[in-house]
Amino acid sequence: MRVDGKGLIDRSQPVTFRFDGTAYRGFAGDTLASALLANDVRHVARSFKYHRPRGILTAGSEEPNALMTIGRGASADPNVRATVQELFEGLEARSQNSWPSLGFDLLSVNDLAAPFLGAGFYYKTFMWPRVFWEKVYEPFIRRAAGLGALSGEQDADHYEKAYAFCDVLVIGAGPAGLMAAWTAAQSGVRVILADEDSRMGGRLNAETLAIDGASGADWAARMVSELAAMDNVRLMPRTTVTGAHDGGTFGALERVSHHSNGVPKGGVKETFWRIVAKRSVLAAGAIERHVAFRNNDRPGVMAASAVRAYLNRFGVSPGKAVTVFANNDDAHRTAMDLQDAGVHVAAVIDSRRDAQAMGDYRLMSSAMVSDGHGRRGLEAISVRTASGVEKIATDCLAVSGGWNPTVHMTCHMNGRPTWQDDIASFVPTPGAIPGMDTAGACNGSFATAACLAEGAAAAMRSLEALGATSTEVAVPEADDSAYKIEPLWAVPGNGRAWLDFQNDVSVKDVKQAAQENFASVEHMKRYTTQGMATDQGKNSNVAALAVLADATGRGIPETGTTTFRPPYSPVALAALGAGAQGKGFAPERKTTSHAATVAAGAPMIEAGLWYRPSYYPLPDETTWRQSCDREVGWVRNTVGICDVSTLGKIDIQGPDAAQLLDFVYTNMFSTLKENRVRYGLMLREDGFVMDDGTTARLGPNHYVMTTTTAAAGQVMRHLEFVTQALRPDWDVRIMSVTEQWAQFAVAGPKARTLLNGLLDHSIDDDQWPFMSCGTVGVQGVEGRLFRISFSGEHAYEIAVPSRFGDSLFRLLVARAEALGGGAYGMEALNVLRIEKGFITHAEIDGRVTAQDIGMERMLSKKKDFIGATMARRPGLTEDGRAQLVGLKPAGAVKQLTAGAHIYSDGEEPMHEHDQGYVTSVGFSPTLGHYVGLGFVRDGLIRHGDVLNMVDHVRGIQTRVELCDPVFFDPEGGRTRG
């Protein structure tokens, strides 16, 4: 119910929202949780395993129960904590994990079967029979498990990543954080203040404590507005710092659009920040812990601090007759705040013998709550005192078992927290994160005065470390009352007393784990699943290990904690993978002929990041094979044009350029004459083939190397390594010019006819023999011409600066068409090169040697080169290696398929009888049958053998004859002629 005169909400701005289809009203400034409580909606969820009715437990990001799906369709978000979801007009929330409805949930039978479903139940039950696991058990468990579900539709919302830099990062904007940011900011250093809440101030917004005589919330608001006005301060509200990583880098998730109805146009739902900070101050506060007792999970049982937060910040009382159960003084403030606001406090139950009432309410000291009554909402509690059990009517029980400092971030780099006895909690171990200071409640200092002082002191230490001049800042006056706690983890008694609400782990489960010798805290965690839900046990970890410590007879410090890992609170994968949706996945590299090619209707295929045409269909063609066959025919009979700009081109200059080439290629390049091109083979250091290509000599100390499209980056990196690490003494400079030149193959018997008339000066065989190169004028533009061939035809590659690429491509194609040819794509290029036995990375896949591909002669014996020694290893030179062969059909079945394997006659087509495999195939319109390349054991000496090709995937078996890989024009007359 709403309480008049309380809260920081804007009552002039009513907001309508729906929960499970019912319309409710709240106000601007509400969270979904506070608005539900204001409407007396207490039962909001079903628990994960036993489907027990659950209500709102907390008022922060640690909430284990109130997980909901917000929104509809593709942009719906499951597992949103109602306690952090800001209310907006039209918000639609749905409960999760219940069927058919929240009120009547069929799987709540699990709760009745609970005696059989305790910790270790899965491991013991689903062991037998073994085949049942995959077919029966796992599908069943999967159906029952999980909380909210994704829509299954593509998420249309955008997410982004961003980078931020600062001198001091302050994590948390409560009293300690605000004071730290304020102090640091005075010196002029760059400060980022990040807080997960929409409203900065932390507990100051949830308490009635005064600072310097004013209300804490007002003080916080004033500090925030003053910080916001400073140029050197960046405030990041709604931003959860999720992890502390190496080098002062922090991950942080900003919820950009969750508080509005839909993502604004062009905007993003979330931003995942990487914040690099020279220093950091952790002021993350503390999380109130629960006490385990029977049925302590009834809707209406809440954290005492949360009850105060709902009252003081949101003007909501979660009950009409509230009881408080505590083991410390701090929680008594809940009773006082409620009474001040006119809410009836039925009783305060305090487990401590010497507890004192701090106001005019009924105090029961040395008493414990032993049971909660009312299945879908708390109706009464049983209180055990020395004189017996008393039942007290109440609809809200505010529980405090003390506070756990939020030490999580200090443990993200493998640090362990330190146990502090007087507050019965773990506190950060100093120095656990380089450059990080801790302040306030996360440091175990709970009084407001101490938080303010520690915040200022931590900032001063940061400034000192930065060498910045610091200004002494006055620390305001504030509450300094003592906390006074006596540990109470679990109330003894029968029945299930809950520790981990999100994974339904009870005290009994933890004890059973210990009994079954899962006694280390890490084993207990995995056996019971305590702390393994999305809240990572924020409410339950310390209590669970205290129970474990008790069960095993060890102390809490000896028992230790499990490992805290990032993220501090859940991060959507969409945020982590932000920017990689759709076209953001990888850069698209487009050639200069792209527009003309797409306009011609060519389907594009990806070659690395490049887009290349598959084939250029004509209107009457219905299959790609028709187009491919035609394009092959053009090159063999007239002339074809193909964009080959994607091949790597590397400019090599300097006095030692030739030496470098001799060193990286297996064959000799220092003997290459100017204006000539040579084919070269490159090995990796380990002796296997890395790449092949041609290198042209353009001048005395000037070469241009071409690489394959696939290995362009790899070869560039290799050359960088060789010149920087292996031979830094050589005076040679390398530079990629792949992007500078648009280069086109002009291939076919009419290639020269096409070029003559296009080039400023005509060419002939004498000036431009096979493997020549040089500068040419192309319609007045200086270009380069290379007489090289990847098709086996009389062919050239012509290059112009890329700005002219589009224009030259169109011109070349028009001229080719006039001669009866035209543009050809990758399919035809592939068939042409297979007919000639030319290799690509389908063959040189990183596992083959020069000998394997029949190029042993290219391993020069006159010089050293990279890979020379390792290429002579026995394993690389001995008999029995798979070697390159040509393959052609030799039986009734005529089809060859790449990826198929080769077997001998009479042998089962099984792995152990494998003779080799097929790497490339194509239908040769020139020869009228399929041609293929492959690797077969000792293939170089087995030409003529007939074996069986078996494609297990496609179900094809073909008799194949091994042959020379050069199927067409083996003498090469067409290339030279």
Partner: protein
């Protein structure tokens, strides 16, 4: 005789404004990578030839129309004039005029836009006018130079012009949507 028509990487795209930022394709003129040979003293001849200092690492010299931009280990990019052929005695000169997409991004929130794409501290205190870096723009290898108070020169491979446009427009829209 037919004539070869020149086309810019973004095909003379008109300037695009989203929010308070503007993106425009710019013609830097001739681009030449200059990589001094071992032991070559290029500073003086470079200054004599082109009237600007040879840039130190992570720095750019000159002004609009003629700049020298540090471009990586042992290499700078001369942008604007064609290189003095005499420099070939000192360094490997390679024409890169057509290899790069060059855009200028400007506006009072330009740093916010780039913070979504470039993993560097580009705040004016750290990255002043005349500072340059080889870094990334989202997934692309890039050259980033501050050429004005609120103005950056961004360069990526020519073939990636479309992706550059996509990534920058997405980031500009995101910043603009925050109001």
């Amino acid at each position: 005789m037919a004539e070869l028509m020149a086309k810019t990487p973004l095909d003379d795209m008109p300037p695009r404004g989203i929010g308070s930022c503007t993106l425009e394709e710019i013609d830097l003129g001739a681009l030449t990578s200059i990589s001094p040979y071992a032991g070559a003293q290029i500073d003086a001849p470079f200054k004599a030839a082109h009237g600007m200092a040879w840039p130190a690492p992570n720095r750019a010299t000159g002004k609009a129309g003629a700049r020298a931009i540090w471009f990586g280990r042992d290499v700078s990019l001369l942008a604007g004039p064609k290189p003095d052929p005499k420099l070939a005695e000192y360094a490997a000169l390679t024409d890169q005029s057509d290899a790069w997409t060059a855009v200028a991004l400007s506006g009072d929130r330009v740093e916010d836009v780039l913070a979504r794409l470039v993993p560097l501290d580009l705040s004016v205190a750290q990255f002043k006018r005349g500072h340059t870096a080889r870094s990334q723009i989202q997934h692309m290898n890039a050259s980033v130079t501050r050429i004005g108070t609120d103005r950056f020169l961004l360069m990526v491979f020519r073939s990636m012009a479309g992706t550059l446009l996509h990534d920058l427009e997405r980031a500009m829209a995101s910043v603009a949507s925050r109001g």
